[in-house]
């Protein structure tokens, strides 16, 4: 089947935007032909004034270049004007006598500048300001002349005037009424604007009606109706535009001020549409970009057969594009006897805001000096939103750039509760993966992919990340300065390459230093130990087996600590120990904070004999291992039953004896709410309550005291035991070496740890893992002896 042929008359912003929308819906449905009178590709006409002002180059304002038309298979005729439409035969003719048939035609001829019908308006030096050519003319003119007059103190006139100043000219702006931009601003804002532009060098001639342009072939001046005159070498006409509807003469397409269209941008003739400045919708002809785009969007839907409400008209808003001048207005900013006005006028800060309301709904507004809420105002007017007092206050306040709810959140706080995604995770993936949309965040992190409740927060976070004030940069942290690898990468490499010794690791993975440092040495050893349970760590402490070990002190002597699980001992044990103390003159014996006796100051030569003499299991908690448990024995504040707590301590200690951890792990067990063992400042601490055991994790009683967080309440001893063992093992398996329990909890989140430990299967798996490791280790120890 032959594709339908769509002809677009006009290669400006309205027409091409509509084509783009059509292609978005149906890339291949039409054969598209575009005619444009100007000899250019589609460019952004609005930016012409910024070209004059020097902030944009002509080359940069092209919206669609040749390759775009070619990519989309659009046949473009530039510099060619359609001069005749024959609706009956569905034919067009151009000024180059080209005849083209169409199935559908879109008229997007735009408008042309209105030239004041006064004497002398055809002299050299009278310039319009509409096209690239006009813009170039003005720039050329400024090179030879000094003095220009702009007729028209509206948006375009002022932007042109500012541009002429930039080009080094003297500028007078002539305006018919008392206030400049009187159609877009109220007198207060208008005067503020006038003062500002005057301070920049524009001279205003207000309430002046132009009567005649004087001079010979070229412009020399302008005479007003009041008889006064002003000198000028160039005159820029900026007194408005008129729709280009000449084409409609002699055919039956209905026109009024412009081409009359309905909500679907249809003219009275089937298959002929009009969009943009040449169209008149519900009696209104729009001359701003936003409405043209809105029209284009609706027209595209209609042409592609997509159901829609049609075009409902646009709320007009104006923003002046002059650098350093923020002016905005929208809707009805004048009001009448049924409306109420709120104004905020800060002369010092040069800020003026005026809201016009009816029944607490905004009808219009003028903003000067701070226009950040402009878009929100347009939105509220469109939605007919009833305003709360807080919303009014927010609009009137000077906008605060740092008012982000998300900026004050911790990196560890959850954004997405369903999938447990933290702020940090989103920050990280946005920065490391260059994410720019909410959809990407959703697919990358899963945040907002379930119930969608956090989508507003995710959106805010993304806006915050993309804002100027954002400074929470996340960088890749390497293990230490000896390597470019992160912990994660190191662990992966160790396994992929099956590396088995420190030397091998440093050699194979390109260590930057000879022999590493204390950080990476210990880390590599820990990871090798986790990967290969049989891996034997080099230890500064002396460890032969459970009954033969000691810790070297800084003075070269050794200390040994008989293992008394839970701090429980007996006459027999004490007698053995006492005998050894006596026999070997052990100089110091002390009771530790973890309820053990420690024998200090032992000479290396005596060690073996003492081990033999004592013949008890010894406790070795040197370095990063699970420490002996502090209990609340001896606490005299209460007389609660401490039996269960002791039993638990013994049971847990027996399982975790000699277990290596990423960082020293301290535990406490308290028999009652008096918390005699300081359980809330331990890595793992439990407190007995009426409902069972409260288990706190991630506390610390080091130099920086931290309270533990409540992980769970276990209703039985068995459950508590499983939770403690599961927690320790999961910490061992997933923490980075040297990571304290609270750092690990913050990183993976407490909720995640609960998810794992509350799962009966996973908890069981963890405790089996630990058991297996211990068995393998004990076997190796046994073999060594």
């Amino acid at each position: 089947m032959r594709k339908q042929r769509l002809v677009v008359i006009g290669n400006g912003m309205a027409g091409i935007n509509c084509v783009q929308e059509i292609l978005n819906h149906q890339p291949d449905a039409f054969e598209i032909i575009v005619f444009g009178s100007e000899p250019h590709y589609n460019y952004n006409r609005i930016l012409l004034s910024t070209v004059l002002q020097g902030s944009t180059k002509v080359e940069d304002i092209t919206l669609n270049d040749r390759s775009w038309y070619e990519d989309k298979n659009i046949k473009l005729y530039t510099g060619e004007t359609v001069t005749y439409i024959d609706p009956d035969n569905k034919l067009l003719r151009t000024d180059q006598d080209r005849e083209v048939s169409y199935d559908k035609a879109i008229i997007a001829t735009g408008s042309h500048p209105f030239v004041l019908p006064i004497l002398g308006n055809d002299k050299r030096g009278v310039i319009n300001f509409r096209t690239i050519e006009d813009c170039k003319n003005i720039i050329d003119m400024s090179k030879h002349h000094k003095k220009a007059v702009v007729i028209g103190g509206g948006l375009l006139g002022l932007e042109a005037a500012r541009g002429l100043l930039h080009l080094g000219m003297e500028v007078d702006v002539v305006h018919l009424s008392k206030h400049i931009m009187d159609r877009q601003l109220d007198p207060t804002a208008s005067i503020m604007l006038q003062r500002e532009l005057e301070s920049q060098g524009v001279n205003f001639l207000l309430e002046k009606a132009s009567a005649e342009i004087i001079g010979g072939d070229s412009v020399e001046g302008l005479r007003f109706k009041d008889g006064t005159e002003v000198e000028a070498e160039a005159i820029i006409m900026a007194v408005g535009v008129r729709p280009n509807i000449n084409l409609m003469k002699g055919n039956r397409i209905e026109t009024n001020r412009a081409i009359v269209v309905n909500d679907y941008l249809q003219t009275n003739v089937p298959d002929i549409y009009a969009v943009g400045e040449c169209a008149e919708h519900r009696g209104v002809v729009y001359g701003l970009v936003k409405p043209l785009y809105e029209q284009g969007r609706e027209l595209a839907k209609h042409i592609c057969g997509i159901d829609s409400q049609g075009y409902q008209g646009s709320t007009l808003s104006t923003q002046l594009k002059i650098s350093g001048v923020d002016v905005f207005s929208v809707g009805d900013f004048v009001g009448d006897e049924t409306t109420k006005t709120i104004t905020h006028y800060d002369e010092q800060a040069n800020i003026y805001k005026k809201l016009v309301l009816k029944d607490d709904k905004i009808l219009g507004a003028v903003l000067y000096g701070d226009t950040k809420v402009g878009n929100r105002l347009v939105d509220m007017i469109n939605k007919q939103k009833v305003m709360t007092d807080e919303e009014k206050m927010l609009l009137l306040q000077t906008s605060d750039r740092n008012s982000w709810q998300v900026s004050s959140m911790e990196h560890t706080e959850l954004i997405c509760n369903c999938n447990g995604v933290t702020k940090g995770t989103i920050l990280e993936s946005c920065q490391l993966n260059n994410i720019t949309t909410v959809e990407e965040i959703k697919s990358c992190t899963k945040a907002s992919s379930a119930c969608g409740g956090c989508k507003p927060l995710v959106t805010e976070l993304l806006t915050y990340i993309q804002s100027e004030g954002f400074d929470e940069v996340i960088e890749k942290v390497t293990l230490c300065s000896c390597t470019t690898l992160t912990d994660e990468e190191l662990v992966n490499e160790l396994q992929i390459r099956q590396l088995r010794s420190v030397d091998e690791v440093m050699r194979e993975l390109g260590w930057l230093t000879e022999g590493g440092c204390s950080t990476c040495l210990s880390a590599i050893q820990y990871y090798l130990g986790m990967i290969y349970p049989e891996y034997e760590k080099e230890q500064p402490s002396l460890f032969i087996n459970e009954r033969m070990n000691a810790t070297m002190q800084s003075d070269g002597s050794f200390s040994i600590t008989p293992q008394m699980y839970g701090g429980l001992t007996s006459a027999e044990e004490l007698r053995k120990i006492a005998d050894a103390i006596e026999q070997y003159n052990i100089p110091q014996v002390a009771i530790t904070s973890e309820q053990r006796l420690t024998l200090m100051g032992i000479a290396q030569k005596d060690l073996e004999a003492i081990w033999k003499k004592i013949d008890l299991p010894l406790s070795s908690t040197y370095g990063n291992t699970v420490q002996n448990i502090k209990t609340c024995i001896g606490e005299t504040i209460c007389t609660c039953d401490k039996h269960k707590a002791l039993q638990l301590a013994v049971k847990i200690e027996k399982t975790t004896d000699y277990v290596v951890t990423p960082y020293r792990l301290k535990m406490g067990i308290s028999a009652c709410l008096h918390n005699g063992a300081g359980s809330t400042t331990k890595d793992v601490g439990v407190i007995q309550t009426d409902r069972g055991w409260e288990m706190y994790v991630g506390g610390s009683s080091g130099r920086n005291v931290r309270s533990g967080q409540l992980l769970c309440v276990a209703d039985t001893n068995k459950k508590l035991y499983e939770m403690v063992i599961g927690f320790i093992q999961y910490y061992r398996e997933t923490a980075k070496y040297g990571e304290r329990s609270w750092e690990w909890i913050d990183r993976v989140s407490l909720v995640h740890i609960r998810e794992v430990l509350f799962d009966d299967d996973l908890r069981k798996q963890l405790s089996e893992n630990l058991e297996l490791e211990m068995k393998q280790r004990k076997k190796i120890v046994a073999e060594l002896i």
Binding site: G453, V491, I531, V751, R754, E755, L762, Q765
Partner: protein, 711 residues
């Protein structure tokens, strides 16, 4: 399924070997989100993942509960066999023994004490088919008048209010798709953000479109954050607040006079009563400043469309029914019903809260929302069931009243299906005491729930993954939940259990069903011509049309999207307004010297009802593993309650111990405790036995309590 983080490869799972996909629907709230469970089997274990499916109501969203719903269904604690209590311990017995025992015990009780000494307690979480069959089971197999269900504690206020005002009770009078277009809405006592998370985008879209949202709640919640105006009402004062709104609407002439004249009875009485009240007095009573009442009423009155949503905050009160009616008064006065973007929504809590209240589980009701005391209705249903009209028992009493009758010894046997009344009813200690007095108590459940612990016999039921059937969602949309997951152990479907017990009792002919669809076919007949008419709905249509909004009186009928466009369901076609006094008929508790604070209760997002299922799910429990008490910091200081410490809360009925959570979001005179936990954390222990005189709803949302730190 929660997966562990894995740093060390040797622990990684083997590759997936097979994959199975099960179509299902979330077993929890009234949104009934469609989803699929994907089962991946490896050599060593099975892994599960849930994904959302597009559908007209949840639009392809699911919340955290849905994502992890399967966790309880495959939990090791699920009962696999019938369990009989012998010397205080449960022992496994066979189904034959179990059914035989029920037969003997039920027969014995009834022959000794009469038919009405047996009772049936049902649920709003079971399917329509099962709800229907349970009602028939009570009346035909057991011939008892005593049947009621847990919906009494949930939806009865809104149901009775809509019935009395409109003549008909369907959760939403409009389709859910209309919400984003409404111009103003009142969310009265509803925390949808926590309770029905997947509905939120409809409300967010409304807000984006410029809708002015008014929230009424004693607490700031994720829902009130959405609101433009939050009326932080004193607990229990909703009816009075509605009077304040009505007063402004009437006096500012924001009423729709022509609508009132054409379609409403009773406006003049309301107007007269409203004239007698004083707005400042209302402000004083409700704790809401009069300017805010004026603003809310003015916006609602002036905007061209508006909707009101109520939920348990207004409804779980001893004046719940009349309070909801007062909100309906506002809709009627402003003419905002029966047209696009204007209407009422009772945000049903339970999964089948709507369907389960339509088909005869209620004490006074027969299928199709028929009345058990209406002669014509009795005759119709008796005919469908093939029994004599005179053999159909008359109406019984409400759920809590049944428990009172157990305590009094009038009811001696109980058949409990899918409910946990020991945790969900007020005065839990009393409920326990009553259940313990029963001669014979059968519980049908997935787990040994707090209530099942008291049973003589527990029968293992199937989960949502295993039982297909229809569920009627929050809108009133009938949906078909597919289910094909293998049955758990020896568990049986609820409907199958009912059929087998009925057969043992000699009523097998009335219960000869082989599939839920067969039951549904009978349900269609039974509802034909009733208010909740399902007769035009078939399983095939439900599959093709992704759900149908009732009433749907014939197979060519598309279902009813919007109710009351031309007339209301009362005989004269008009709606009924009623003047609602600021002073409720049953007086509510107020803070006293001994019990100086209000207590109110509610849900949290990660749990559902009494938590029997959600507490079993590791992922859900990980988010909230215990109860808590939300308290204003200033109040906490006053009572020396530190943050995150145990606190004892006492009312005249009992005491509980939970952890404190300081929050500025709550009124200073009120504390809040969620209700998903049992035993020493069961907040319902503190609730009074007083009931709403109309619908017999207990007053869960207001009690007077005192608090003290636990040392």
């Amino acid at each position: 399924m929660t997966e562990m983080l894995l740093r060390y490869f040797r622990k990684k799972q083997k590759e997936t070997q097979t994959e199975k996909i099960y179509d299902t629907q979330c077993p929890f709230c009234s949104m009934q989100c469609k989803m699929q469970l994907i089962e991946q089997s490896t050599v060593t274990r099975k892994r599960y993942q849930t994904i959302a499916k597009d559908n007209p109501t949840s639009e392809g969203r699911i919340c955290i509960k849905g994502l992890h719903a399967h966790q309880h269904a495959i939990h090791g604690d699920r009962i696999k066999h019938p369990l009989l209590k012998v010397n205080g311990e449960f022992q496994k017995i066979s189904w034959e023994e179990a059914i035989q025992l029920i037969k003997e015990k039920f027969t014995e009780i009834q022959s000794l004490h009469g038919n009405d000494t047996l009772s049936v307690y049902g649920s709003a979480t079971i399917t329509n088919e099962e709800a229907y069959l349970l009602g028939k089971f009570a009346r035909v197999a057991l011939k008892t008048r005593y049947i009621d269900y847990n919906g009494r504690l949930c939806m009865s206020s809104a149901a009775s209010a809509a019935t009395q005002t409109f003549g008909m009770d369907r959760g939403f009078t409009n389709s859910i798709q209309e919400i984003p277009q409404t111009r103003c809405m009142i969310l009265a006592g509803t925390n949808i953000a926590e309770c029905q998370p997947t509905i939120m985008p409809y409300f967010e879209r409304a807000k984006e479109n410029g809708c002015f949202i008014i929230a009424i709640d004693p607490r700031e919640t994720a829902t009130t954050k959405l609101a433009d105006l939050h009326l932080k009402v004193k607990p229990g004062m909703d009816a009075a607040l509605a009077n304040g709104l009505l007063k402004v609407i009437i006096e500012e002439e924001l009423i729709d006079q022509s609508f009132l004249e054409r379609r409403v009875d009773g406006f003049s009485e309301v107007k007269e009563y409203i004239a007698s009240i004083d707005l400042e007095e209302i402000a004083e009573l409700t704790g809401v400043p009069s300017e805010k009442i004026v603003k809310a009423a003015t916006v609602f009155g002036k905007e061209e469309s508006g909707m009101i949503f109520t939920a348990r905050g207004v409804e779980q009160q001893t004046d719940g029914s009349i309070a909801v009616r007062n909100f309906l008064n506002i809709l009627l006065a402003t003419g905002k019903i029966g047209k696009p973007f204007s209407g009422f929504g009772a945000v049903t809590g339970q999964g089948n809260g709507q369907g389960a209240r339509e088909h005869g589980q209620k004490a006074d009701q027969l299928p199709g929302y028929r009345s058990i005391e209406n002669q014509e209705h009795r005759r119709y249903i008796a005919d469908v069931w093939g029994i004599g009209k005179e053999d159909l028992p008359h109406k019984g009493v409400s759920a809590f009243e049944m428990i009172e009758k157990m305590d009094e010894g009038e009811i001696k046997g109980l058949f409990l299906m899918c409910s946990n009344p020991v945790v969900s009813n007020p005065s839990a200690a009393f409920v326990k005491q009553a259940l313990k007095k029963l001669d014979f108590f059968v519980a049908v459940d997935l787990f040994v729930s707090e209530t099942a612990r008291l049973a003589d016999l527990i029968l293992p039921a199937t989960s949502y993954l295993e039982t297909p059937g229809t569920m009627t969602n929050v809108e009133g949309r009938v949906t078909l939940r597919e289910a094909s997951f293998p049955l758990w152990g020896e568990a049986k479907h609820d409907w199958k259990i009912l059929c087998e017990v009925a057969k043992a009792l000699g009523k097998g002919d009335y219960f000869s069903f082989d599939s839920p669809e067969e039951i549904f076919e009978e349900l269609r007949e039974a509802t034909r011509g009733g208010l909740a008419d399902y007769s035009g709905i078939t399983y095939d249509r439900l599959r093709q049309e992704e759900g149908i909004l009732w009433p749907c009186p014939d197979e060519d009928h598309p279902g009813t999207i919007r109710l009351f466009e031309h007339q209301f369901a009362h005989l004269n076609g008009k709606a009924k307004m009623i003047a609602v006094s600021n002073k409720p008929e049953v007086e509510k508790e107020k803070p006293t010297e001994d019990f100086p604070l209000y207590l109110t209760t509610g849900r949290v997002m990660s749990h559902y009802l009494t938590g029997v299922q959600t507490r079993k799910s590791p992922t859900l429990a990980a988010r909230e593993f215990e109860s808590y008490m939300e308290i204003h910091p200033a109040t906490a200081e006053k009572y020396q309650i530190k943050d995150q410490t145990l606190v004892k809360i006492e009312s005249e009925r009992g005491s509980i111990v939970v952890r404190s959570k300081r929050s500025e979001a709550i009124r200073k005179d009120t504390v809040f405790v969620p209700f998903h936990w049992a035993d020493s954390q069961n907040v319902n222990q503190l609730i009074s036995k007083k009931l709403d005189p109309t619908c017999k709803m207990p007053g869960f949302k207001v009690s007077a309590v005192k608090i003290s730190p636990v040392e």
